[in-house]
């Protein structure tokens, strides 16, 4: 298949749009389940079209730019953010053959792009010229940078263990032994993912009760949809990387590869949603202390441990 | 407890007090005595202020009346201090430095009745909108029909 067809259709844009609608629906349903509610119910069978309806509602909305906002930056930022995270998807092998590109430095590119996100979000907050957005932007930078160190370190642990940066090769070489050895790295990676993508309980940059919606406050309609979508894609890409690095990617008995891949992703998402339903948000200073005093040293220790193991195995 | 206070009030301030309820004492005092009385009551354990309740008796020709309700949290007793304010001179010395929680209550009473609490650091409009300052809606003479919100269309 041609690469551009892949990019648009199968593992690319349209496929992912459906996937995100599904994930959004799933989040609502699972949260509703934990809340003992029913969740979406009336639109479509079991309310399955609710998210689609919401997306169309967002697309219809007026394009509002604040009077004092930096107009160019304000309207440009969502697309920049979207392009940056959309590039992440290209490097993820959903099954043996369904990937867009595969290079020898896949992991490096993914991590580099994720590291590039904080300034984009900061500018999103800065350009909207609202106090809440501004504080939200500052918080994003603060939080993401402190979260990215453990993210890098734990991802590199896997790369060191398998001796390659190519996703496909990592999947092929993965085994049960590798899973158990990399378990601490996996836990650190998932925690760091929650921090980097500001998911609860680390949703400090968009803490609703403090600063309304952080850097997203002034966005509405299509811009908002794109920005939120890019945040969702970031989380999805990082979880996919987690699946590839630590959970054996598309490997699995009986069922086709892509199904296994999504089952694993589903597990991770379930965990995210349940955490959201049970853990109150922590404060910025507590988060920074947690990142720099606990998570980063642990990630470093883990890296040292992996290097030791690697020495013994080889 | 209340008997004790009653005796003390009689000896120190020469104030008669009557029992208001089963566990409340009513002391009627003069405006210039108020601050001393409040200080005395605070020293004697009535340190939890409830409210300032101003009553408008102008239709009956008795001016205004400010009631300070204090509670003793240890012995569970109340004292109500009553100050009458003539209509011509609506001023009372503030007690907000003695009982800080009463400061917003005094502010509210000023806003609603126009009784000026001399010495209160913050007599600003609180509950009413800014353009309604000086309406004094809880007074009996307040007329609902006279005061309407200024509408933008009529401008």
């Amino acid at each position: 298949m041609e690469a551009w067809i892949k990019a648009i259709f199968f593992p690319g844009f349209l496929f992912l749009l459906v996937v995100f609608l599904g994930i959004f629906y799933m989040e609502r349903k699972i949260l509703a389940d934990v809340h003992l509610r029913t969740g979406p119910y009336y639109v479509g069978k079991w309310g399955i079209l609710q998210t689609t309806a919401d997306v169309f509602k967002l697309l219809q909305k007026e394009f509002i730019i604040q009077r004092r906002a930096n107009k160019l930056l304000f309207s440009l930022i969502p697309f920049v953010a979207f392009l940056m995270v959309a590039a992440l998807i290209a490097f993820i092998p959903f099954s043996e053959h369904s990937y867009i590109v595969s290079t020898s430095f896949d992991l490096l590119v993914v991590l580099a792009l994720v590291t590039g996100m904080p300034p984009v979000f900061f500018y999103a907050g800065w350009a909207s010229k609202s106090k809440y957005s501004f504080i939200g932007g500052l918080r994003v930078v603060n939080q993401m940078i402190s979260g990215e160190i453990p993210l890098w370190l734990s991802a590199l642990a896997a790369a060191v263990f398998y001796g390659t940066l190519n996703h496909l090769q990592i999947v092929h070489e993965s085994s049960w032994l590798g899973f158990f050895i990399l378990l601490p790295a996996f836990l650190i990676f998932v925690t760091a993912t929650l921090i980097v993508t500001d998911r609860p309980p680390f949703d400090i940059p968009e803490a609703e009760q403090e600063i309304v919606y952080g850097f997203l406050t002034e966005f509405g309609g299509f811009n908002y949809a794109i920005l939120v979508l890019s945040k969702l894609i970031e989380l999805f890409a990082l979880y996919s990387v987690a699946v590839v690095l630590f959970l054996g990617g598309f490997k699995g008995p009986v069922l086709p590869g892509i199904v296994w891949f999504f089952i694993k992703i589903f597990g991770l998402y379930l965990f995210t949603f349940v955490v959201r339903a049970s853990t109150p948000r922590i404060r910025m200073d507590q988060l920074l202390r947690f990142c720099w005093k606990v998570l980063t040293p642990l990630a470093l220790l883990n890296l040292a441990f992996i290097i030791l193991v690697k020495m013994f195995i080889s | 407890m209340l008997e004790e206070i009653r005796e003390k009030l009689k000896s120190q301030f020469e104030l008669e007090s009557e029992s208001y309820d089963t566990n409340m004492l009513l002391v009627k005092c003069d405006r210039n005595q108020l601050r001393d009385l409040m200080k005395f009551l605070k020293e004697n354990g009535f340190n939890y202020p409830h409210t300032v309740s101003v009553v408008d008796y102008t239709p009956k020709g008795e001016g205004f009346q400010a009631n300070y309700v204090l509670e003793n949290l240890n012995s569970k007793k109340f004292v109500m201090v009553r100050v009458s304010i003539p209509e011509e001179d609506l001023t009372v010395p503030t007690v907000s430095d003695i009982f800080p929680p009463l400061q917003p209550h005094e502010r509210e009473a000023w806003e609603m009745f126009g009784v000026e609490f001399i010495g209160n650091p913050r007599l600003e409009v609180m509950l009413l909108p800014e353009w309604a300052e000086g309406w004094f809606p809880l007074r009996k003479s307040y007329d609902f029909k006279k005061h309407r919100k200024p509408s933008k269309e009529k401008k």
Binding site: R68, E208, I211, T279, P280 | L73, P100
Partner: protein, 389 residues
């Protein structure tokens, strides 16, 4: 555009129309950011907190209230003794029985009306039901300000059962208008008692274990709220805190115990106090009072006497006045009711506990982080209808 500050390359306009003076101007000149935490804000409710922040530190907090002012105290003067309850109950919708009870007791004191015993007991049941309903919302919103909505949803499920019971009793779920001077308005039927018992059963058997498992002793909740907004015992009295906030500082002040009204004198319950005085202690006080209230309802239902539930209340009440306190869900609610011998109240002053708590709040919010503002705000357990009246 004089009231503006430059930060990070562009100007924030603080307030365009209003001139700033006094302390606020000083804060502005020090290049502090004023956040309007409110009126249109996810956690503030209909009020505005002007929060001056220096980076992440809060310098000064100033509440701006009056957005839901209805002038209830004035409206009551235009009512008769009976129908003034609809104004009194609207002080706060969430627990409306407490306010109606207080007003009715005050009116009965002036008119010198003796209540039948059954009315006292029904009032007790309703008041405690109202307290539970209110506390459930308090619990939910306290955890809700930290981004978790599960407790609120769980609490609402339990609340629904109580509202069902109120509906069976009075015909409405929230604005019940069910307690009048001279007793209670409706007969406490067997079905009402049944519904109430089933609601308490649900609370004790389903809600309390389910909630306690996750949201009591929750580590992240603890690190957020322990040691935040600490008020020692003396300070609490000096600031004039009321209700659960006062009890969380170790002051055992509860009108139900101190000056028993309705049937509280005959029932066995304990006053919940905590010594720490921080936000978490206030949360726990609400939680334990919830359990305590369920027990009170059970006792009151067991001891419900036979007889009339309403006596005749005169249309004209002799001149006189009364000051009555009731322990409302959010604290001690005072009613200063004056009668001049007419068909309605001459003056009613409502002493609102939330009003007292609100004005104690700026003192507690000095030198805290911005993220602690909603936590302290929610822990004080205020109702906006009650603040503005």
């Amino acid at each position: 555009m004089g009231n503006s500050i430059s930060l990070a390359g562009y100007t924030f306009v603080v307030e365009e129309t209003k001139e700033i003076s006094g302390e606020d101007l000083g804060l502005l000149q020090e290049k502090l950011l004023q956040l309007n935490w409110g009126v249109q804000h996810p956690a503030s409710g209909p009020m505005r907190l002007k929060v001056w922040v220096d980076g992440d530190e809060v310098v000064k907090v100033d509440p701006d209230i009056g957005y839901v002012l209805r002038l209830l105290e004035k409206l009551v003067e235009y009512r008769t003794w009976q129908n003034a309850i609809v104004n009194v109950e609207r002080a706060c919708f969430i627990d409306n029985f407490g306010t109606m009870t207080g007003y009715s007791i005050a009116a009965e004191k002036i008119a010198d009306v003796e209540l039948p015993k059954k009315a006292d007991y029904v009032r007790t049941i309703l008041c405690e039901g109202g307290r539970i309903v209110s506390h459930l919302i308090g619990l939910g919103s306290f955890v809700g300000v930290m981004g978790v909505h599960t407790p609120m949803q769980w609490a609402l499920i339990a609340r629904e059962k109580f509202l069902d019971a109120f509906e069976v009793y009075s015909g409405q779920r929230i604005a019940t208008a069910s307690i009048v001077p001279g007793g209670v308005r409706f007969e406490p039927t067997g079905k009402f008692i049944e519904k109430m018992v089933s609601a308490v059963d649900f609370l004790e058997k389903e809600f309390i274990p389910r909630y306690a498992e996750v949201f009591i002793d929750n580590p992240t909740l603890k690190i957020r709220s322990q040691g935040i907004g600490v008020v020692p015992k003396e300070k609490a009295i000096e600031l004039g805190l009321a209700g659960p906030a006062l009890r969380a500082s170790g002051v055992a002040s509860d009108v139900r115990k101190d000056y028993p009204y309705a049937a509280y004198g005959e029932l066995d319950f304990k006053v919940v106090t905590k010594e720490e005085g921080d936000a978490y202690a206030r949360y726990l006080v609400i939680w334990e009072e919830l359990i305590e209230s369920a027990k009170i309802i059970r006792q009151a239902i067991e001891g419900l006497p036979e007889g009339e539930w309403r006596t005749k209340f005169p249309i004209k009440v002799p001149a006189g006045e009364a000051y009555v306190n009731v322990e409302w869900a959010r604290g001690c609610f005072g009613f200063h009711l004056v009668s001049d011998g007419g068909t309605g109240p001459y003056r009613l002053k409502m002493r609102a506990p939330s009003f007292a708590n609100l004005w104690a709040m700026p003192e507690m919010m000095k030198n805290v982080k911005l993220a602690d503002v909603p936590v302290i705000f929610a822990s004080l357990y205020m109702c906006h209808g009650d603040i503005d009246r």
